[in-house]
Symmetry: C2
């Protein structure tokens, strides 16, 4: 494959960048071209040799503008990178070129009750810590919050811890505004507010470079982390559903892992009885009493509880939920992979029961309860014993035939991993603001198919 | 009708009460025997001549115990009263006897972040004001919050402003504990915690006297009051649905009034264009921007906006929502009455559209969006042009035939106004703790039918 950037003289490019920090060391650049796509045995061979040519680390919007201009002038592909924790190769450059690493643009511009304005490179945990000083916290974050950036979360994520209350990033009101650097002939800064932010929300950095965001916050609650165990999986799942339906119980995380998943959690191995299912929960301290009633009703047993004071240090259950569950499973058995499934909103959890019975140990149930579009759904991040691609597709088909939506984590194509249809709004936005198709090339099907 | 209490010597009774405050003045007692049942032309003739014999105003739990003992000893009916703002005669004594007015037991026992412990007679607005001093507020309150008591809200209410986020009083976690004085041969104090509170929650004071409550709180948001107008009713209704589904927009009230209801709101008459529908909203200040987008999408227009600072004084839109809507309609046209309907959870609002088209001006749509059992529903507090009882029942039947649940406000019987079936838990509780059936006699069908 010849790459647009092969003929580029990178020394000259660096010289033109002036004081802007760059990394040219091949090993370093290769490392900064990768993310966590290796969770997928399908993506692994497709992406493992992909690398950019140079990493550029801007410190300001004007530096971003300068990089953008140079890329446009020489038609160099540009792939934006936050912390590179995406798990479908979102930030892996398919056609080389510039890796625009945003991690140095990590200022908090301002904070006020309920709202923060930040640069994209700020890490979610660092931001959360800062906003807590004024009594507010992030509404939601991925389980990678300690390393992931807010820009990458908006660019490549969807939701996470907190989504059980506030919905997902795409839901109305969860992203107020973004400033974006375009890749037009003359790159410039545009501001998107209101619904217009959806042009760039979860677009894998294919149609603009986010340089600033206004993100709404939630009031801080004193959170308690708990692990509750259940002998029967469906009891655990139905407990998750019941807790999620309890609007009077304040919660941030409802994560259900079927056996043998809890055995993959090294720090909790001695705590969770072998063969049992576990619910990993974050609940406000004042809601612990009603929670205990619910646990009793579903024959659960609290085996671990960490108070707000204690949660600031040491192991956090957060890092055993969402896709961290997959990470721990794979660190014990690297042949395991996963799925991402939106199960229908159904208080009876019939399809989950069916899948649990049908697949047995081949597809191990891991549910994250969340709200999306105003509805409560169990989302599956099932652990899958991988045999081959055909069988993986059969498993996907089985789910889709029965009304589940699979957000396929075995593709790096934006639309194929998402709603399976081209987002015309995002495509139009790319046509206008990245007319040469330089941004993260090869990721947006709508663009690729249009030639 | 002979009443159990007719032969009672009330002077003697008062003497035995000692220092406990009483009211015997006939006019005063008659007044304190009434509530807002007159919203119903069916209840009006049934309850208007009902009166207690004496009003007793305890100041402490031990005074309540003393009154309870005296009533048990002489088999005197005892009906508890908060502020008497119930709207189906909940606190109207059907068999005379003692009216136990709890309004003097209005202490806040303690408050901490997220939770308050209070006596039942404290007014909701007063409590809200106090908890706000520590940064917390009532999760939900009725539109009568300025006068209604927390004990009466638990005894006879269901939810209100705030239920769009936290669900209803019955939802898990919205009532932590109650202390209750029993009417056993030897009255005593029992404490109910966890699910056991449901024994007494919305029981019309038929099975125990609440003397203390632990009630969870919500973090304070800066609320903005807004009125948005719409030319088309279904646009207004669907806007209400969409806003209610937006988990990223922080809200406390989503109230939709079809024309001509807004014309009944005297202070807003000149503001709301005649013939239009109005949405009365409370939204957090930081959510105003995404709200505006939603308003635009449904062709709405903001005609009134009151900031947090301003909302502390003057007219509040709260007092034009929930059953205050009915109150304002009836003050313009006393022949109007109302219904209470739980419409199915259906984002398309098909049944609402059908009822709107079918009934026209006879049943004027007034919707309150709320969460209950974890689901979002539009609740109807429709304004009904009353002709006769048969027609009212036809209207009710029409709704029920199509899957709506009517919480009939034209009956003073607990079960008939509610889920239409005897609550065995509450009935058993009454059998145990009020074996003589002295508490608010005639209101619990399960008890009446058992003789
Ligand atoms: C173990 C594990 C657990 C995870 N759990 C979750 C989870 O709970 N929820 C969830 O949503 N995700 C989850 N993820 C995915 C990922 O960690 C998050 O979405 C994270 O927020 C990505 O942030 P990042 O800084 O690492 O972004 P990157 O991976 O660096 O980038 C992600 C995408 O955003 C684009 N991008 C980055 N910065 C910008 C910018 N400034 N402007 C425009 N585009 C930009 C990139 O081009 C790329 O396409 C998980 C991943 C792993 C490996
Ligand atoms: C205009 C209007 C609007 C309204 N809006 C709403 C609304 O939005 N939501 C809603 O839920 N209700 C509403 N209501 C009904 C009512 O105002 C509320 O439920 C209110 O909270 C009742 O409180 P109260 O103190 O007036 O109770 P009361 O009317 O005095 O009593 C209500 C019931 O509770 C019992 N009770 C009172 N105190 C105790 C106690 N200490 N122990 C045991 N039982 C007790 C009484 O016996 C009675 O059965 C409305 C009524 C009107 C007239």
């Amino acid at each position: 494959m010849t790459r647009a950037s092969d003929k580029q003289n990178w020394d000259e490019f660096c010289a033109l960048l002036g004081e802007i920090e760059t990394i040219s060391d091949r090993t370093q650049v290769a490392k900064l071209s990768q993310d966590y796509y290796h969770f997928s045995p399908i993506l692994q061979p497709l992406l493992q040799d992909k690398t950019g040519d140079i990493v550029v680390l801007p410190r300001s919007e004007s530096e971003v503008l300068k990089v953008a201009k140079l890329c446009v002038d020489s038609e160099i592909p540009l792939t934006v990178r936050g912390a590179g924790t995406g798990n479908y190769g979102q930030c892996v450059p398919l056609k080389g070129g510039v890796i625009l690493d945003m991690s140095k643009m990590n200022n908090i511009v301002w904070m006020k009750p309920g709202l923060a304005c930040v640069e994209p490179g700020v890490k979610l945990a660092a931001l959360d810590k800062k906003t807590r000083e004024i009594g507010w916290e992030m509404r939601m974050f991925p389980s990678t919050y300690r390393t992931a950036t807010i820009g990458g979360f908006i660019g490549g994520g969807s939701g996470g811890i907190g989504s059980i209350t506030y919905g997902q990033l795409r839901d109305n009101g969860n992203l107020h505004a973004v400033r974006v650097v375009t890749l037009e002939a003359e790159p410039r800064i545009i501001e998107l507010r209101g619904d217009a932010v959806q042009n760039i929300n979860h677009a894998y950095g294919t149609n603009g470079i986010i340089t600033q965001l206004e993100i709404p916050l939630a009031p801080v609650y004193p959170w308690t982390e708990l692990i509750v165990t259940f002998k029967e999986f469906m009891n655990a799942a139905k407990f998750g559903q019941a807790l999620s339906q309890s609007d009077g119980i304040i919660k941030k995380l409802v994560s259900i892992c079927a056996a043998p998943i809890p055995s993959y959690f090294i720090p909790f191995r001695d705590i969770i009885p072998s063969g049992e299912q576990a619910a990993l929960l974050m609940v406000a301290e004042t809601s612990l009493e009603p929670l205990q009633e619910l646990i009793k009703n579903f024959q659960g047993k609290i085996c671990y509880q960490k108070s707000t004071q204690e949660t600031v240090k040491g192991t956090t259950i957060i890092e055993f939920t969402w896709n961290h569950t997959t990470l721990h499973a794979r660190s014990i058995d690297p042949s395991l992979t996963y799925l991402q499934t939106l199960f229908p909103a159904d208080p009876e959890l019939k399809l989950i029961q069916e899948c649990y019975d049908y697949f047995g140990d081949e597809v191990i149930q891991h549910l994250e309860f969340l709200r999306t579009g105003g509805n409560l759904h169990p989302a599956g991040l099932q652990i899958v014993r991988f045999t081959n691609e055909a069988r993986l597709n059969e498993i996907i088909q089985y789910h889709e035939d029965r009304g589940a939506i699979i957000f396929n984590p075995h593709t790096y194509i934006l639309e194929d991993g998402g709603m399976k249809k081209v987002d015309l709004q995002q495509l139009n936005f790319k046509q206008k603001y990245d007319p040469l198709g330089l941004l993260n090339p090869g990721k947006m099907r709508g663009w690729v198919d249009n030639g």
